[in-house]
Amino acid sequence: MTEFTLTKHDDGVAIITWDVPGKSMNVLTEQGIKDLKAAVDAANADDEIKGVVITSGKEGSFAAGADLNMLAGAVETFGDKPDEMFENTMQIHYVLRAIERNNMDPKTNKGGKPYAAALPGTALGGAYEVALATHRIFCAPNPKAKIGLPEIMVGVFPGGGGTTRMVRKFGIMAAAPYLLQGKTVSPDKALKAGLIDEVADDPVAAARAWVLSASDADILKPWDAKGYKMPGGMPYHPQGFQTMAGSIVMANGQSWGAFPAIQAILKAIYEGALVPFDTALKVEARWFQNVLLNPSSEAMIRTLFINKGALEKGANRPDVGDETVKKVGVLGAGMMGAGIAYVSAKAGIEVVLIDQTQEAADKGKSYSEGLLDKAISRKKSTPEKKEALLSKITASTDLELLKDVDLIVEAVFEDPGVKAEMTKKVEAIIPEDAIFASNTSTLPITGLAEASVRPEQFIGIHFFSPVDKMLLVEIIKGEKSGDRAVAKSLDFVRQIKKTPIVVNDARFFYANRCIIPSGNEAFRMIGEGVGLPLIENAGRLLGFPVGSLQLMDETSIDLAGRISRATMAQEGEDAVDPLTFKVIEYLEGKGRLGRKAKAGLYEYDEKGKRQGLWQGIHEEFPLAEDQPDVETVQHRLMLTQVLEAVRALEEGVLEDIREGDVGAVLGWGFAPWSGGPFGWLDITGPARVVEICDALEAAHGERFKAPALLREVAEKGETFYGRFAS
């Protein structure tokens, strides 16, 4: 069975149906490109065929895009053979150009066959690029459909002619949101923007009628016509010059120069704009190949697509039956509890939201109301949906309402005593087979489970704040947590459409274990007199979405203080660097507790908007005469978290490096271009990282000592993915 099938009809229309066997949604594969070529060649050679409609055999969608595994495979197959890889990359262009130009006389531009795309719904990436090569795009009025080119989000760019065609169709300025930011839109918006040509209830019928009536002029692309002028001007046209120069600054500036794919697509756009269309396709192919060969794109595809998807599909789920959550009890209606209630109700789960007073419980529920009102004002929701969602949440003080829940998520005050008391009270009411999960960010699960009469049904589910926005959920297995507890948690996370990682119980679990030392390192550097902008910008230049100092202000300085004091109480005075603690205490003493206090490492205006870094700190910690270079600052911020990830793996807290990487990128925005700490280690090279560690250890102390595992991987010339990827 082929992935693209050509069917001739009596009216002279041939339908090419895209239907990849065994998939719910099509993806463009290597075989698919061959099959599409065969179908197009056959149609072009057949005089009885007057026009061609390309559609999908899948209900509600055209295709999700190129098979990213294929792209990863191309690097493996051709990585060291640039000529062959280029020819391989060009294959899609040959096919799509055969659709676009088919039998047209290159001089008169006459005699071609009309091709139309009939999209039942979603057409993303490579799929939209196929449609873009046809002469007219019809799409069903499918509100769930997404149209666009999101490639840049996983570290590549549209390499199936999408870059070249979008720039020529819309100009650099108008194409930029789609190419440089990966914007995707609904069919309605795609129609307005000109990404598609018609919305039709029956896109195949409409496309069919169109190909039979299309004239030579209808099927001539502007860029193939004489006298073509690029919208907005070419790069050396006065207006185009401004646009090109401005696009470089904006795209590279907004991404802090940390994303190779953004730089590569800018180069493909510029160089392609200056040459004829077919040459531009070659230019696009060369830069696309260049990006595929960049280890960053491999790492991004691996983490943000392949492994994220695998974890969401339950790669590490124990083999137990369905544990879909029907009714969840959320204990504590504070910020976290309210957020958990919202995402649960949104997923269609019944929620009982408990707090000590009815007022507090209601306030927790009103959080959902606020979010929904905002969504309605932005036309992202409707009053009906709001009512439906709110009706799923019962806000109460009555623990008896928990008698038929199958999952508890406890989000009460972060105090072992309070939590133990709640556990006992609630376990007495809930069904015997219900799972009890504690949403704690700092307290060991094994300890909390001691309050439970059913510790094998007790587990940690660590949500990040704000719950409705953050993509990651960290599931923590206590010593006695059983498979059902893990499966229940994973099924719950899948229901609320977040990405799970499962880790073993240890101080601060995984995410906080990595974030806290890096934040402490930033405080320490302040203490040493390193300039605040240098610390902040060093992190941004690594691709972190917020700088360390901003992060400290957002999470609050007093939280850092509490964590430090708790750490010292439990692990001894030496467990927190004295200079780090001095800086934290100084800020606390000045009442500069972060954004919530409208004063922290930043200064804020009345509304809490950041105004600039607080230079007043240098009164206590004067700016050092000799400032470190940015690379050293980056290494200090980076290694403090990366080494924790390695230690977590070494100690068995992490069981799967994929979780370590996905968790880091989704959980705290770890340099996405690197694919995560282990991706960063592999890209930088374990041997080089050991050198960096040795130098930092000598200059700054033991915390930079390379863990034995890292040293071993380096000495053996291995990589982390080479050794640990399953």
């Binding site: 790069p235 050396y236 120069a245 470089i248 590279n252 802090w256 510029y270 902008p533 060093a538």
Partner: protein
Amino acid sequence: MTEAYIYDAVRTPRGKGRKDGSLHEVTAVRLSSTVLNALKERNGMEDSSIEDVIWGNVHQVGEQGANIARTAVLQSNFGDVVPGVSVNRFCASALETVNMAANQVKGGDGDAYIAGGVESMSRVPMGSDGGAIAVDPSVAIAAYMVPQGISSDIIATEYGFTRDQADAMAVESQRRAALAWKEGRFGKSIIPVKDINGATILAHDEYIREGTTVEGLSGLKPSFKDLGETMPGFDQIAIMKYPHLEKINHIHHAGNSSGIVDGAAGILIGNKEFGEKYGLKPRARFKATAKIGSDPTIMLTGPVPVTEKILKRAGMTIGDIDLFEVNEAFASIVMRWEQAFDADHDKVNVNGGAIAMGHPMGATGAIILGTLLDEMERQDKETGLATLCIGAGMGSATIIERV
């Protein structure tokens, strides 16, 4: 080695580089030939004695394209035997042509040259020659390219210059330029631009604003703030390059940056025999020349390293130099140079500079060298140094000594 001497230096007045500027009606070729004709007339040399006309020009398109040096020669009173070559070292183009001519004379490649340059900024505006540097991402990204105005503000931020200091410098430039004109200090060099019938079109630098005050400048909007902070946001590129900076302090505006003007200038350079043959008295000899490349983002700090380099090459210290011309592309460029050498502003740009009189890019190098020589003669000083900052991160310098 053969010595190279300056025998004459002339320039046109500078017209406002706008459609209502006096020189807007005059072609760049005619500005150039005006200078060439003046040098020929004033010095009486035979055409065959001129080995080459080396002409600086930045925007070599339109009427300034296709080798404006040879084009100007063909329009001038020089005969066909005089060749011409166009040179682009951005803002230091004309100093570069002078240095090339001097070094070719020193090397024995001919007896005499005319070096200089032209820029009609009103007729061939900035940016009209395109160029890959800002727009080809393979260059712009790797070099962290920002416009020069942003660079001048980065210098102010990095080296701690305030808007008030820059404005005070601008006011002083205006005061000095006005005084110099009043006292006729440019009289030796100025060649009025005349029409084809001999009527005068412009005889003075018309960009000067006499009586400029710090208060008067204080109302001017920073020129590069929007480009830097909003669209397209060049400050971000600056911060990526210099992450120790939190934000860029935008202090430059139309009043403390060089003026956009039209103008041309030329210098007659020859060996000893050339002067003897035509009975010309050498005014100065070339002690040393130098050029450097530097960081392209902060871009305009080149005068500092090129001064260090040329002093070393000449076996001199900063104290050995009597007078300086440091092109006033932006106030911060001169301030940075003076800061680096702890220089006395009384010895720098004594008769004002490009902030007051304008900076016709392709000509300025020859203008400031001529101005320097005139002032050395007026004050009876021995040694002078001229230097300019240059786009994309370069610097150029010349040391001359009176003979």
